[in-house]
Amino acid sequence: MALGWSGSNGRVSKKVLDLDNFLLKNPLEVSYFVNNKCNLNCKHCYVGYNQKNGELSFEEWKNVFNDLINLNGLTFGNVGKEPLLSWDKTKRILGFFYEKRKEKQKLRFGFVTNGVLLDEAKIKELSELMPNYIDVSLDGQKEEHDYIRGRGVYDKVVNNLRLVNEINPKLSNKIFISSVLMKHNKNKFKGMINEVSNYGITHFLFSPYVKSEKDKTEELSLDLNEIIEFYKRAIDGELFNSRKDLELILKNDYDTLKPVMDRCAQEKIIDVNNLLIDEYGVIFNKYNSRGGSAIINYIPTSDTFSKEIRISHDGFISNCYAQFFENYPERTEVIGNVKNKSIKEILQTYLIH
């Protein structure tokens, strides 16, 4: 195998502290849908729940978030469905977290977007709010991306990324390009990385496509061997050009990608004897190569509700996977609704104290 396979201990700090003193106290990661609408109709969209009504108001969100912050909520991601379609509410929520971060510096917040509506006015407003991260979706270069998301989408998004860098290069540094790894694009990311890294972007996040019940075909799915092959190439630095400061994150999810993690551990791509952990409790290996670093996360056990919480636009509390299904509210993974009970009551049997 190639470079960096024994992992890196670079940037490791505080190793003399015991784990409890190092970790932020039982930090919760909260991902929420501000709405259930989107301006695109992507072939790979996992969201099966299609109820559009019942969005929580800003005041309702504020109450839920205040409760969660009191329960050690430290990471808040607006992950859907397309936050920029509800810009006013999204902006108010980001503003709420911006104020909270002044009191609690470890609090971090961001959002996921397809990037189509990221215009000059929003970029200027985001420059004031400075979220900790903005995940922008790109599924390869023009041909692969537009195949999934629609004609002309790639050019719009890349143009908006260029605009971000022109208006505020510091904001470009907060962008994570978020890519779904599929059969048709698995060999196309080097060109994409090369292109958008010209706009000050250094972070790239990859997750394998997970088939939902809506998808009746096999055309997008990779088999386990193909995923492992991609991970090996990423770790070996094959997606990099000559830049030294790029970072790839190979992100696994427990509910849907456990077989991938298990296989990675078997093949020592995830080396359980050389793990690192960050202060938010993210466990990973880090590999350095010629163009930057690659990180692969490892989730050894399900941490739904004790660490990770999903809130739908209409207030249901669940894991992420439940939203794959049309009958989402009836599923057993849904444990309550903030319209009927406080979040503290809903979570009380799951939280670690």
Binding site: Y46, Y133, I352
Partner: protein
């Protein structure tokens, strides 16, 4: 919405080595399902034993 499910969360923060016994403690802690009081007590006891053994 198709990717990473919960997104990047801003990537990796300040980090350190996680040794194997700490990993086991971490697993015990997060695999607790507190809706079962008996299981909770049993697993909390295991964590305490591990911690006391350090």
């Amino acid at each position: 919405m198709a990717m990473g499910f919960s997104g990047s969360n801003g990537g990796i923060a300040d980090y350190r080595i996680l040794n194997y016994s700490e990993l086991n403690k971490f697993i015990l802690r997060y695999s607790i399902r507190l809706n079962n009081e008996e299981e909770r007590k049993k697993e909390e006891g295991l964590i305490k034993e591990l911690e006391d053994g350090d």
